[in-house]
Symmetry: C3
Subunit: 444 residues, 3 copies
């Protein structure tokens, strides 16, 4: 592990490679279920070894029931002038997600009840869903809506809701310990960029970074599932396991904007997940803000529900609901910044490296300082300056009392764990420190 | 309780009604004991059903002995020019409270030792007491004092100290639980407005508000007693009971000025009394400041003495000792603002409502979120906005884990308990939440 | 103890007396060991009754071995022009401390490897040591170095490293209790002013102040030892004792500059040492800053090593490494301010007095307030003003519940312990308070 590079080889991902994957995933008609989701997971499987889990429609998962699978064959409206408009083939936001089938002719007035636009953003097509209430509808910009003439409209919503399955994929990258880190992201939004594709892109390329590490102490679990129902279904399958082994987890969502990082703490607020994320952001020198847990947001709502209360936070870069293009057609490729998105992968990798290195050491020579000089660990000539690495060594030795892990030494000293780590290894090699048996448990 | 109005019917009190009671109580010669106190309690009894407790002179109450009862027949001075001056009949602050009887002729120089004025406030007559040291004396403005001519003065202090009793009154408004809230105020200052009458006025009209609630969970205890010795005597009678049942208490004093609220914390600093008061003030949008407990002030000194250490704070509006008119004839009707005083009643009622609603719920579906949509508790069509009531519901569900009461959910979420309450009731009705058995005890 | 003066008699020390001692100690060639150290301790013994401890060379003290004793007979260089330069007899910083013997002729180029100067401070001669690596060398200003001509230099380093001993001295000033306070300072730097002599000067004169107190509750232990190895050797001798009895300790170092005080907390951060120091500085009205513990600095590194973790901080006035003259010939008599140094003695005495007075009392009349008036402890006539001493009494009575010591009452009330102390004594005399059995242990 001492050979672990600061940042994994840049050959594993590049802005271009990320953009290629983005372009392939962009046009797919994703939803809670259905062929668009499976096509998405198929493409992702080229990047990491995903295991597919299909949860049949009708399965009870805690308080929820897995819905029927949704299939879109075609969907459009013929305007009074004969033009085909609101065609899902042109933009998959046009159709209210999970619309039930409908065919018929309607007056403009009757059609109105099925139209969705945003008066506050007159050029944007909104993203609208109706998963659990049978409805059909179309989305359009407010300007388009105003321009619809009076007359008869012919509506074609050629969809189908049928017994099928909910698609979840996972990939587990084993380490030498059973303690696990979770990266969870969702694949249920259709053509939306920051609030959809940034999460799977970060997760997929992060997997490749961690897989390229020469060794791993912790086990890393990557999950791709539809938001809410998917996370709940996953918890129904793996909740007991996570309760036992999870030491830190993150929901990767909305992480592709060229703006500051936002770390949202887990429900408990001081878990290892929170400490590693805050430390990594601080030590990387990026601009960041930390906010407390709230039970609104993404799938941390499920992981942090009171029956699980797992150590799961979320590292975000462009927070859902707080940028104007959110949940509209303007959340598209032009909005995200692929270099920033790659910086998010760096941040996640730094967090994982902090977790890897967060070991606990025991000072075997705790009475006074050990004589570092005769071990070649201290400058042998005393002058007014003291090197940073001596400081790192002093902190590691002084606080390696069995109750401090390296992250807590980093927090107290203000020295990055990546500076403390070589000091700890050198002291271990010199026989001054002994690695303590890991005390990490699922309770973080 | 769900029908409890936000603010109780305004018919229960009005600025005019409060002013009428003020005018009736103003002229009475209150003191630690005596007929003025009893007359005050008689009038208050028209507003709330007070139970009278008379503690005989000479009774030991902890380290104190109930003093003799004090009676004033007349008291004045005949000046050298024959004018009657410093007459208690003109202003009951003229006589040092608890003055012993005296009759005699004195030179101006000899009289000086018995005069009290405030050079720093030359127009004000100070309020002076000598309860436990036998003295007699007169109070006058510094300007009046300067104008007293040389010559012989005839002094008449026709008072009497005799075996009698100390008068305390209480009223208990029962709730469905034994847990109690205490409102304590004092009735020992003569014609002083903010630092006397504001407290009993707020307490009396607050009683009427709480009595008008359709139901009460908690029991409310109102106490009217002379300051210090009265509170100590009351603790001698009811201290053991309060130790067992009191969950929150407040000393109502100095609460009639048109200024910001000041909440003084209980000695323990984080009791339910403190949390409810701070939350109520915050959620009401009033300007307020919070200060820590100090063993100087009013009767919280006694309730928070180390042998009791009860959860008693004080909500003040115009702090004793911090406004210049304090303890002088300028603390009169012109100083107080009856609309502000009524606002103090609103604040106390809001605190009591927060205490009422501070229940603890248990989420019966704690694994992931419950599916609110099929219970009609969630918008069935997903769009970018999330209603405040959904947020309230999410917070209540996420934190109803048995360890959080509604106040702690309010504190953590920043949502007022009055917004959380309907969410909790709706979730209870839907069978998602169960009301936990009250864990509140006298230790708050 | 009630007769203890606020500041001890000024006859015990004066700026002149301090300066006399400074001048006597200044020229001695101090080092880890050797005759200069013994001469220093001999002179200090005229001021306080030091007990000498000689630890033989070769003794193992935890991870360290006491080095051979170092003797300097003469040391200089003959320049190409025949001038004798870099003579240790002129300035004892000229010779790298612990230089091994050497005689020989070197070219200027060959000499270079043995020269030490500070390009950033071209007029200063640096202070350089090489205790544990056999070397010899000379220190000079960068300007002197630049002026050295080409040519042959004759080097004489007539030193000797031989079996001897490491010199430590201690003085214990007994109190009525076994609980101890430690003042530790070092005597290993040669002619350096703030970073050497200020510490022993403060310690020596502080001893005299405490010895002049009419009585002492606590026991005070003063230690003079070389830095690092001396403190480690002392811990090898007295560590178990200190673990049992030490309640507070301070490393006196760098305390003679006319600047703000810096208090460096102990490793635990909230020990009695920390609380007393911060309270004393605050109550004295001096400018001060508080910093957290760091395992770099002076001998608190040893006292706070994880195997001991003693309650030892450091009160500094001109922090090592943070003033430019540090560890150079410019840290000389001109730099320090003897009045400021005497102020540091005042500060240490105030800290010790706070520790003395930090007793715990129990209120024997805890139910309501005791009636102070009839005991002559309260003004018998009530008026608008309340004296500071009444406030002090109220705080002491209210918080003397067995869990608060006087320092915690001072911290909570904002009243200096020196104001609380007479109130506590008066209440004890009146039978209201009882002194609690000391609960102080070595764990502070």
């Amino acid at each position: 592990m001492s050979a672990m590079p600061q940042i994994a080889a840049s050959g594993l991902d590049s802005v271009d490679q990320i953009e290629v994957l983005f372009d392939r995933l962009w046009p797919l008609m994703r939803s809670l279920t259905g062929p668009g989701v499976r096509a998405t997971h198929d493409i992702l499987s080229e990047y990491l070894p995903l295991q597919r889990i299909e949860v049949p429609s009708g399965t009870r998962v805690f308080d929820w029931t897995v819905p029927k699978e949704w299939l879109v064959r075609q969907s459009y409206v013929i305007a009074p002038d004969g033009r085909r408009i609101l065609d899902v083939a042109e933009n998959n936001l046009r159709l209210v997600n999970y619309s039930v089938p409908f065919r018929g002719a309607l007056s403009r007035a009757a059609l109105e009840a099925h139209l969705h636009s945003r008066p506050d953003m007159p050029d944007a097509v909104p993203y609208v869903t109706s998963y659990y209430e049978p409805r059909w509808g179309f989305c359009l910009s407010d300007n388009e809506r105003a321009a619809l003439p009076e007359g008869d409209y012919e509506v074609v919503v050629d969809t189908e809701l049928k017994d099928g399955a909910l698609t979840i994929s996972e990939a587990v990258l084993p380490g030498s310990e059973n303690a696990e880190v979770l990266i969870s992201t969702y694949t249920c939004h259709p053509s939306l960029a920051n609030n959809e594709l940034s999460g799977p892109l970060v997760a997929a390329f992060l997997y490749r970074r961690l897989a390229a590490w020469p060794q791993r102490r912790l086990t890393y679990r990557f999950v791709f599932a539809p938001e809410t129902i998917g996370a709940i279904a996953y918890l129904a399958l793996r909740g007991d396991h996570l309760r036992e082994y999870l030491v830190a987890g993150y929901v990767a969502t909305c992480c592709g904007l060229d703006t500051h990082f936002t770390y949202k703490r887990s429900r408990r607020g001081d878990t290892l997940a929170d400490r590693a994320a805050v430390h990594a952001l601080k030590s990387m020198g990026f601009e960041y803000r930390v906010r407390d847990f709230a039970p609104t947001g993404s799938d941390e709502r499920q992981y942090c529900s009171p029956g699980f209360n797992l150590p799961v936070g979320s590292l975000i870069r462009g927070v859902y609901g707080e940028y104007p293009e959110y949940h509209t057609s303007l959340d598209n490729k032009a909005l995200i910044d692929f270099a920033a998105l790659r910086g998010t992968i760096d941040a996640y990798e730094t967090i994982c490296r902090a977790l890897e290195r967060n070991e606990r050491f025991e000072n075997l020579l705790p009475h006074g300082e050990p004589q570092l000089g005769r071990r070649g660990l201290y400058p042998t000539i005393g002058a007014a300056d003291q090197a940073d690495r001596v400081q790192a060594m002093m902190w590691v030795l002084n606080l390696s009392d069995g109750s401090h892990d390296l992250l807590s030494i980093a927090e107290r000293s203000g020295i990055a764990i990546d500076q403390l780590w070589p000091a700890a290894l050198a002291a271990e090699k010199a026989g001054i420190l002994r690695r303590a048996v890991s005390k990490e448990t699922a309770r973080g």
